[in-house]
Symmetry: none
């Protein structure tokens, strides 16, 4: 059964507000086996609302509408709904009681303007609002249910979770399970992954594979649906195994985890520690690692050695290396990783030096040239890269590559 | 003239991805005097796309469509568009040349799958894509223009700005000027700003004020419209002056600039340099400052002294201070700022130490307790804070507050 979502508000059409309600509702109804046929946003004008209500897609059972139920003059959804379905507007006693009760809970009297929120189309079913004054309501018409909720995200989300989803689940008699698994791939672009996986995975009503590019990585989301959870799990595992076979070397997480968490868990498992020396990434790698709770267990130290003076003073990089090879060089990356490891007394050292641009490039070392060094107790290794994009993209790409190099180094030990 | 925006992608209908393209495009077309009549999202299935293209609202001149132009099998917009308008699909030489040129720029050969992105409906006008391989295209039909772009936000935004807006502006003969000015406010919440500004600014068709909360700050956008640019500028300046009078002490930028740029420009003006010692922010402040091109002129050094050992070894914080007061303390923040400044030989030192959580808090120093130290040549000052939210929010709030304290310190000198 399919659902159409309509969000109402001039602020959506003016580009002032991003519509998160439709996304939230879609994610919720999909989990109970319904599909979303369309999402649309229209303005506050009654004609636009009426037009939207009258032009829902054929075959849609549920139309979920948010917005325009507030206490102010530009909230006109209740009126428009009444007109669209040829009903009168009346003071709904159940909605009024709910508003009065809420204000009593604040120890306040209901302002007169809020009474407007109880003026609803005749013969509606009320949806309680656990978070605010605007009740939702349901109009049944032509075998469809038109479900109206306020646009405030916290209220719409609470009403979706507490009322709409249980109701729709019961009505649709949904018994199937929907499970999904997300793999994170780094180092292969979407088109290259697609070429390798071409024809390898049998998609159908019970199984689907989505490519979700999130620069600089691609997430592969396998979704399975069926009556038997164990079978769905097996189907997903089979698809995941195929993907592992074809692009496994580029998969860094099979549980939708970010790089900083994957690397952090590896370090924890090995009871290892890390120190980081950053030049062109400017602290981004340390920042990412410290976004993980408990990272103080393994992150010993980070240094942002942006200037040559900092490289010399903090890390004891010989001036001669900088003079001879430059700060953006294989020998400098190697020494930075080695020295920061020694300074921190950590298991590993990770270093990045490069040219993030837009200036500072040369013919020999253009913008985007980056060297990444990884030091362990035994040895150091350095990789050289040429990245593209603006400054922030080059920083992000460099941090991803550095975390990946570190991950590989830990795994090899 | 009105615009309808259609975004295509199963990931939008499944609640996996929030649609930011429609919001971006809406905000852009409104600035050239057009209005948005509807936004909608449909899935990747050709029938859904065709249905959407055939059921645009009456009176709509431009239909802007994003998504489904990638190189993979689930990208079907070009095919669907051809079918909707009864055209054949053909290899578009201009689009092909653009793809090949882009891959050549990477020093790579075009993968075969990308050729798919040049299979477009016949008789289209090509929209260059400055950021990716998928060209956009325009189909004229029944007095309307259907404008197709890829769904990758960076690409859709670049094409909107460089091609679509200039084109629509010229075609619509828009002669009024719309100008805007954004002030960035930190330290007052939206409702508090609203209370101070209540009734102070005369909004109307020629002038509007929008509150745009971006945690942890609020941006105030004044927009003016009219035939005479000079008059519009004056109206905006008058509103800005009122805001300055009421909340000026909390405004850190009158040109919509981020903190890292404002602080960087101040340092440059004063020919001053900075060194940073971060504990709970974990490198975020250094990362933010180095997002600004040219930051190597003033950022001397950053240290992420996450562990006590790092505080002692890198910054020479006496062990006795850590033992007596703890790492999260006024004396430690003061010493961190002082010592990092001395170590780098910089004009200023900035230090943050705190508890980002979710663990590590105590009754005396709960999660969110943060000390920020600023050192100049003459003296050090420390502020103490209690922030709320999750780990990343506390990090972000701390970095904002630290940059603000530094800004105030520089301005006082």
């Amino acid at each position: 059964m399919s659902v159409e979502i309509i969000t109402i508000g001039n602020e959506l059409l003016s580009g002032t507000t991003v519509d998160t309600n439709a996304t939230y509702i879609a994610a919720s109804v999909i989990e109970i086996g319904l599909s979303v046929s369309r999402m649309s946003s229209v303005g506050d004008a009654p004609e636009d609302i009426i037009n939207a209500l009258k032009s829902v897609l054929p075959g849609t059972k549920y139309i979920i509408v948010t917005g325009g139920l507030g206490p102010t003059d530009d909230d006109r959804t209740a009126d428009a709904a009444a007109r669209a379905f040829g009903r009168t507007v009346e003071l709904n006693q159940e909605a009024l009681a709910a508003i009065e009760k809420r204000f009593a809970g604040y120890g306040a009297k209901m302002p007169f303007s809020n009474q407007r929120q109880a003026m609803l189309p005749a013969r509606v079913e009320i949806i309680p609002n656990p978070r605010g004054t605007a009740s939702g309501f349901i109009i049944e018409a032509a075998g469809r249910e038109f479900i109206f909720m306020p646009g405030v995200p916290a209220e719409a989300e609470a009403m979706t979770e507490s009322f709409i989803i249980p109701r729709l689940k019961e009505q649709s008699g949904f018994k199937q399970v929907i499970l999904s698994k997300s793999l994170r791939v780094f180092g292969l672009w979407e088109s290259a992954i697609q070429e390798r996986l071409d024809g390898q995975i049998q998609e159908g009503p019970g199984l689907s594979l989505a490519y979700l590019p999130h620069f600089p990585e691609v997430r592969l989301k396998i979704t399975g649906m069926g009556a038997d959870p164990e079978k769905v799990r097996q189907e997903i595992a089979r698809a995941a195994a195929v993907i592992q076979e074809k692009v496994g070397e580029y998969i860094y997480s099979v549980n939708d985890e970010p790089f900083e968490l994957v690397v952090g868990q590896l370090l924890k498992e090995k009871k290892a520690t890390i120190a980081i020396a950053e030049s062109c990434t400017g602290g981004l790698i340390s920042h990412r690692l410290t976004n993980i709770a408990g990272s103080s267990d393994y992150l010993q130290m980070g240094v942002v050695v942006y200037s040559n003076r900092a490289k010399v003073e903090l890390l004891n990089i010989p001036q001669s290396v900088l003079d001879e090879h430059g700060a953006v060089s294989e020998p400098c990356a190697r020494l930075m990783a080695k020295k920061v490891r020694e300074l921190a007394g950590s298991t590993y050292g990770l270093a990045v030096t490069g040219i993030a641009g837009p200036t500072g490039g040369s013919t020999e070392k253009p913008v985007g040239t980056v060297f990444i060094g990884v030091a362990s107790v035994e040895a150091e290794s350095v990789t050289q890269h040429r990245f593209f994009g603006g400054r922030e993209q080059i920083k992000l790409m460099s941090s991803h590559m550095a975390l990946n190099n570190l991950r590989k180094c830990i795994l090899q030990q």
